[in-house]
């Protein structure tokens, strides 16, 4: 298991910059995420060679090129599968997946849900800009119904995924959301993800200034954010602006703080074993982002897939002389000798 020490960084952000020229559009949210990640990586306490970034295809998937670590820019949707092979066979590495809403939720949906179900030791960063950027502006699986794009001139008739609900339904053990523009919060979430053993799923709301500019503005604008952004803190009551979150029926509901007995306000616990709670949190916010929690929704412990696989191999292989074992295998069962 990779030994992540989140203190005393020896390296600096600049040590994680590669020689490649960054080529996202001016104003792209990816720049902010890249800067935040580069300045966070030294906190892992790992040498650069012990870190591997695997991406698929899309604007976000150029990410590995800009980091001075090992990296693969792979195939559309397949990063979780490729990263699974690496993580299972190389427990000494810290393996990160960078993906987007089209990459992870459309073409690669199958790999994402299975990586989460297995709890492979991967840190999956999903840059969600609710649009296809690299192919120049088609609607994505997180675009709201009715979205007008080049491929939906009369409005998209697709219903979107809620990525966190999907991850929770896939038995994810760590589920979080953050914003491209809030470096402190982003790094806090990355820190928690890095410390988590198993799959960590982090949705990062990311602005695409070209094809979907301002998609998350309501969460960033000082005039509106207090009414819409919910900052989750483990062990703290869920409150924002003059609102609070209470239990309601099978789920959760936003109410005016003034109407609620403070004792009824839900206290956030990311370690609740039943995913129904985190799922209810994920449903507070829809496409309109009216009440959008950010932070760590769920953080529970479950044996990891890669560790399970390795334990079986290690138990079977320890102390085995492979050449001799091969000889025994070849001669096992019915054999006969011709003189």
């Amino acid at each position: 298991m990779v030994d992540v020490k989140l203190d005393a960084p020896k390296l600096k952000a600049k040590d994680f910059k590669s020689s490649q020229e960054v080529r996202w559009c001016p104003g792209c949210g990816d720049y902010a995420i890249l800067a935040a990640v580069q300045s966070f990586l030294p906190e892992l306490g790992l040498e650069r060679e012990k870190i591997a970034f695997v991406s698929g295809i899309g604007c976000s998937s150029r990410f590995p090129y800009y980091l001075n670590t090992y990296g693969i820019h792979s195939i559309h949707g397949r990063a979780p599968a490729i990263a699974t092979g690496l993580a299972v066979s190389r427990p000494d590495l810290s393996v990160w997946v960078v993906t987007g809403d089209g990459d992870a939720l459309s073409i690669g949906g199958n790999h994402l849900i299975h990586a989460l179900r297995r709890n492979v030791n991967l840190k999956i960063l999903l840059f969600n800009n609710r649009i296809y950027g690299l192919t120049k502006g088609q609607y994505s699986p997180t675009s709201g119904a009715g979205t007008l794009t080049k491929s939906s001139p009369m409005g998209s008739v697709d219903s979107p995924f809620n990525p966190l609900s999907l991850a929770l339904g896939s038995e994810a053990t760590f589920v979080a959301r953050t914003l491209d523009s809030d470096r402190a919060h982003l790094q806090e979430v990355l820190r928690a993800a890095a410390e988590h053993e198993g799959s960590a799923f982090v949705e990062i709301y990311q602005n695409c200034p070209i094809f979907n500019d301002g998609a998350f503005e309501v969460l960033k604008n000082p005039e509106t954010r207090d009414e819409s952004l919910i900052r989750l803190q483990h062990g703290e009551p869920i409150a924002f602006g003059d609102k609070v979150v209470v239990q309601s029926g099978y789920g959760l509901q936003v109410k005016d703080a003034a109407e609620v007995d403070p004792a009824d306000v839900v206290v956030h616990k990311s370690d609740v074993d039943d995913p129904a709670y985190a799922f209810a949190l994920s449903r507070l916010s829809g496409v309109a982002l009216d009440h959008t929690p950010i932070g760590v929704f769920r953080n529970v412990s479950r044996p990891t897939y890669d560790q399970g696989v390795r334990t079986q191999v290690d138990e079977a292989a320890t102390g085995v002389d492979r050449k001799e074992a091969l000889d025994r295998l070849l001669h096992s069962g019915d054999t006969w000798t011709v003189l």
Partner: protein
């Protein structure tokens, strides 16, 4: 006292309902025969359905064994002996039986209801329709239940032992020992000793039935074959292939990583390798074919020997990732156990129709090495060869097995593990260049001048951090490059690397006066060999050669082809190797012989086809 007659060879087919245990019966008869020192070849034939309704034609399962006092190359064209456990087994297999052949039939199942189920209007045992055959009606179930009367087993369990009664009887008929099977049964039913003893009693009862009743006037003996000295075992292609992968791990010192998704007829490779964790073999049953090859490629990047195994439909899904592996220039073993297609096709039947897909079924110019094993035991050697090429040249290698050799079995003279090739790899550990400022840097696409392989620097290697990806890479540095000249250079370099893979010369077996060469690839090796042997016995001159390396082909291929007036290419497809030969060696007179029935060629039909070509000059 029975007469004992010597035979030089015989082909026996055991056939029954899926639930009758015919595969086990055949396996045990094979083991007994192998111990006697005969050369042999076997072929099972299962229904695609897991549990087709009992007693129906789709539910018939069979197992054929050909054994002889000489070396043999195929499981035999036509059985001479058929053991039919029910009317469906008789009906489904009678057409294959040689005229005058022997039928041992279980009369207990020939009830009106069972006969009607398979469309027999009258009982074939009584209506004279089998008069061209020597029929031995035996009440297998009744006799078995009677023999087990003293055992405290249910009637149902007793009845289920009738396959062992049949095995005992056929073992007596062909003078096979049964002691090893007794041991086997004790092991198999370790937890149920009573069932073990009941099966053994049934086995012995079958033997004694042959010995004491007068129904069987003649008993046969087939003397041992003169085989090369050594220790032998019987092996199927899929098992040999899995062991070859395991051996490649041992020979390279690398951990083996298999990513696979279940698919007929390749799943047994996954099953087998999942038992070999003690060799450091990791198996991941992925969520789909794409994830299977993706995980294997990810593991290869990390320094493992990445392997994925599938059949045609799965290989089609893996195509995009194999192209990425071409671009990343990482080792990857891809096994295609071909089956009859397109689409689901005939999933349990054999075909060789994926050759062109293996060669060209990718986007862009994406050449890879392609190999094909020629027999079940050759699957072991072919995987070592595939690993050699993949590791030396840092390339995906496709291995084309097929359903015929995957499930077929033959005796295998076991290799000495001390003689395994050295497949060890030199990973990159140091910078291999300098940047503009003269500082040492790692150039992931700086090539070995001889092999054109790029360095393999695995994550975790200090100082060699680099990024690779599907976007075209600049020569040497591996940086993203959209430069037209660079792309042209890289495409040509990747092609030259594969074209330059060292491959042993094509060996030609020519009696000295042949004008016609028969050239095969893959599993047709056995039937072609048997047909060539037959022709030469008749005095018909013919040369033969067989391609194990399909890309690149051996360097002397052009020269070999040029020696012959005609080249006959038998394939279980509509002419895919023929297409490659015509493209690569224009001027060669290529005559295809093509059948796509889901069945291997018979040596008789090939012999006729080859003779026809030779006669027509």
């Amino acid at each position: 006292m029975n007469t004992v007659r010597q035979l030089d060879r015989v082909v026996i087919r055991f056939a029954g309902d899926s639930g009758d245990g015919m595969q086990l019966t055949g396996d045990r008869f094979t083991a007994e025969t192998a111990k006697l020192g005969n050369d042999l070849s076997t072929l099972p034939n299962y229904p695609a359905e897991i549990r087709a309704p009992a007693g129906t034609l789709p539910g018939v399962s069979s197992f054929q064994i050909h054994f002889a006092d000489t070396d043999i190359l195929t499981p035999g064209d036509q059985p001479e002996v058929l053991i039919a456990m029910n009317p469906a087994a008789l009906k489904a297999n009678l057409g294959d039986l040689k005229s005058g052949g022997t039928i041992v039939v279980n009369t207990d199942e020939f009830t009106k209801r069972n006969l009607t189920k398979v469309g027999y209007a009258a009982n074939p045992l009584e209506d004279g329709s089998l008069e061209d055959y020597q029929v031995h009606p035996v009440a297998l179930a009744t006799l078995t239940i009677g023999a087990l009367a003293e055992f405290e087993v249910s009637k149902k369990d007793a009845e289920r032992s009738k396959n062992m009664f049949a095995l005992g009887l056929v073992s007596w008929m062909y003078s096979r020992p049964i002691e090893a099977t007794e041991e086997f049964l004790r092991g198999k039913f370790k937890a149920k000793p009573l069932i073990a003893e009941a099966n053994i009693a049934a086995l012995k009862a079958g033997w004694n039935y042959g010995d004491t009743t007068e129904a069987f006037a003649v008993r046969f003996e087939i003397p041992p074959a003169k085989l090369t000295a050594g220790t032998y075992r019987n092996i199927t292609g899929n098992t040999a292939l899995a062991w070859g992968i395991t051996a490649a791990g041992v020979a390279s010192g690398l951990p083996v990583f298999l990513g696979a998704y279940p698919i007929t007829p390749a799943s047994d490779i996954l099953h087998e390798l999942s038992k070999h964790k003690r060799f450091g073999v990791t198996t991941v049953q992925a969520e789909d074919e794409i994830a299977a090859v993706g995980a294997a490629l990810g593991a290869s990047w990390g320094g493992a020997l990445g392997v994925t195994t599938s059949s045609g439909p799965g290989i089609a899904l893996k195509s995009e990732t194999i192209s990425l592996a071409v671009s990343l220039e990482l080792p990857l073993l891809v096994v295609d156990v071909q089956r009859a297609g397109p689409s689901t096709g005939l999933p349990t039947k054999t075909e060789q129709a994926d050759l062109v897909m293996a060669m060209f079924g990718r986007h862009g110019e994406a050449p890879i090495a392609v190999l094909a094993p020629q027999s079940p035991s050759d699957c072991f050697d072919i995987m070592l060869e595939a690993a050699r090429i993949a590791l030396t040249y840092r390339t995906p290698v496709m291995v084309l097995s097929d359903g015929y050799i995957a499930n077929g079995a033959e005796p295998w003279n076991l290799p000495e593990t001390a003689d395994l090739p050295d497949l060890s790899v030199d990973f990159a550990t140091e910078p291999n260049g300098v940047d503009k400022a003269g500082e040492p840097v790692f150039l992931p696409y700086l090539r070995d001048p001889e092999t054109l392989a790029r360095p393999w620097a695995v994550p975790g290697t200090p100082g060699l951090q680099h990024r690779i990806g599907g976007i075209e890479k600049a020569d040497k540095t591996g940086d993203i490059s959209y430069d037209p000249e660079n792309h042209d250079h890289m495409v040509r370099t990747r092609a030259a690397k594969i074209a330059g893979v060292t491959v042993p010369d094509l060996e030609v077996d020519d009696p000295g006066d042949a004008d016609v060469l028969v050239l095969g690839w893959g599993s047709t090796w056995g039937p072609i060999g048997a047909s060539v042997r037959g022709l030469r016995e008749k005095g018909v001159p013919i040369a033969r050669a067989h391609l194990r390396h399909l890309n690149p082909m051996p360097k002397n291929t052009a020269e070999v082809l040029a020696r012959y007036k005609r080249v006959v290419v038998p394939e279980m497809n509509l002419g895919q190797l023929a297409l490659l030969l015509r493209g690569n060696f224009p001027g060669t007179d290529v005559v295809g012989y093509n059948k796509v029935r889901g069945l291997p060629f018979t040596s008789n039909e090939l012999q006729d086809a080859l003779e026809e070509v030779i006669k027509n000059g």
